[in-house]
């Protein structure tokens, strides 16, 4: 039986490095994708991935895993680490980072099974399709908040738009995504 997320984190808390490896097999690519989206740099993204899993190792003993919150936890660390990295880099140097190598990527990780990849791909399609239905300004505002780590006042400032406009865009965009993505899963929950 493959262990669930919660028991993996419980084992990590017990200093079981094999469990950390399994958690990496399950979420490494997702964490990397987030880091790459935010840092726009493959080297920085890999550093973020290392930090994220190191943080998981370090903080697992104090973490209370519950259904569903392990992935939320990982994504929160990934976003915040990656945002930190871009901010400190810009702050320090303001230099242009090397572009992402856009060559073909290896899809398989050790332990990543094909069934998972099929589901990932379906989910990706579903989410991309939902995002496509949003007006561009709404999508942009959401991404600046989620991946950019900006507050809504900062978003308004950056885009040169009134604060009220940004508030509305965030609300309309995210509630629409919720309605689109949630409907299909209500049945699954109960």
């Amino acid at each position: 039986m493959a262990p669930d997320d919660q028991s993996l984190v419980a084992r990590i808390a017990e200093r079981d490095d094999e469990a950390l490896g399994l958690l990496y097999d399950r979420y490494g690519r997702l964490v990397y994708a987030i880091a790459l989206r935010i840092t726009d740099n493959a080297t920085s993204a890999e550093e973020v991935v290392q930090d994220v899993f190191y943080n998981v190792w370090r903080d697992a003993p104090g973490f209370r895993p519950q259904a569903g919150n392990v992935s939320t936890w990982l994504m929160a660390i990934a976003r915040h680490r990656a945002i930190d990295v871009t901010r400190s880099k810009r702050f320090r140097a303001g230099r242009r980072e090397e572009p992402i190598d856009s060559g073909p990527v290896a899809l398989a990780l050790p332990g990543g099974d094909p069934e998972q990849q099929v589901d990932e791909r379906l989910l990706r399609q579903e989410i991309q399709a939902a995002l496509q239905t949003l007006p561009e300004p709404q999508r942009r505002a959401i991404e600046l908040a989620y991946y950019g780590g900006l507050t809504r006042s900062e978003i308004a400032e950056q885009l040169g738009e009134p604060l009220g406009t940004i508030k509305t865009r965030l609300r309309l965009g995210l509630t629409r995504l919720r309605d689109l993505l949630w409907r299909a899963n209500e049945g699954a929950e109960g």
């Binding site: 493959a42 003993p61 569903g68 919150n69 965030l170 049945g187």
Partner: protein, 268 residues
């Protein structure tokens, strides 16, 4: 306060909170309200779980394969001088980060976790179920495993096809769910997002050409609400004006016996 009476302004704040986009003063004020309003906590949890689906839509990417080993090496190296105090995740960073991560889990995080679990259903929980299922099959017999492998390969192939094919129909209905029909050359695939049905029930797909509906096959939705069906006979498809999905007993029916759940016109 009754949440249904909350204004759009309020929903603005809940949305921004879910996206970590409030400044500190706003956040503190909102948290005071959240601590007393279960309805708002539920909305925030839903919105937060929605936001956390965003990364699943990012382009497929993988780090170098060596990274796994580097991470494990690092934790093994640092394992020896352990026994220090249990770590406070948060205070260690010098860089300002959104408060969500800096603070300990609030008391209402249980509600949030419960809603986040909905998002996780799509991911971990049910993938796990499928993996477990495959592994049980492995234990029971190699033959069965080969069958699952072939099914999986077939599913992979169908998914790959939908990535390159053009959608020729978008199905919608009154209730939950949606579906798209893709066609590429001689092949057509229906990808549906529908709630899983109880045992003994399946979704059946119908092609409509003005006469009696013709069955195009049945499918089940997995626990994340995804169903796939390869539709054979593209000639039949070409003659059809519309496509519809109903809920039918296992094995399918000769004609629809329940109301149409989703339907859409087929573009020729």
């Amino acid at each position: 306060m009754n949440a249904t009476s909350h204004s759009d302004d309020f929903l603005d704040d809940l949305t921004a909170y879910a996206l970590d986009a409030l400044d500190d003063a706003e956040r503190i004020a909102l948290e005071a309200h959240l601590s007393t309003c279960p309805e708002c906590r539920r909305i925030v949890a839903e919105l937060q779980a929605t936001a956390n689906l965003l990364p699943y839509g990012l382009p497929e990417a993988a780090p170098r394969p060596e990274l796994r080993g580097l991470i494990l090496e690092r934790v093994c190296r640092e394992r020896q001088p352990e026994q220090a105090q249990p770590v406070q995740p948060v205070q260690q960073s010098k860089i300002i980060r959104p408060a969500f991560w800096r603070r300990p889990l609030p008391a209402w995080s249980t509600a949030l976790a419960a809603a986040a679990a909905v998002a996780a259903i799509i991911w971990a929980g049910q993938l796990q179920g499928q993996v477990n299922q495959l592994q049980q099959q492995l234990a029971s017999s190699q033959e069965q495993l080969d069958v699952s492998r072939r099914q999986l390969e077939e599913r992979e192939r169908l998914v790959a096809l939908t990535l390159t094919a053009a959608p020729v129909a978008a199905l919608a209905g009154e209730g939950p769910g949606s579906a798209r029909l893709y066609r590429s050359g001689d092949e057509a695939v229906l990808v549906a997002s529908l709630p899983p049905l109880p045992a003994g029930r399946v979704y059946q797909v119908w092609l409509l050409d003005g006469g009696a509906p013709r069955s195009a096959g049945t499918f089940s939705a997995n626990s994340s609400g995804v169903g796939l069906l390869a539709i054979s006979g593209v000639e039949t498809l070409a003659q059809s004006q519309a496509i519809a999905i109903t809920n039918e007993p296992q094995g399918g029916s000769a004609g629809p016996t329940t109301p149409v759940l989703l339907s859409g016109e087929i573009q020729s």
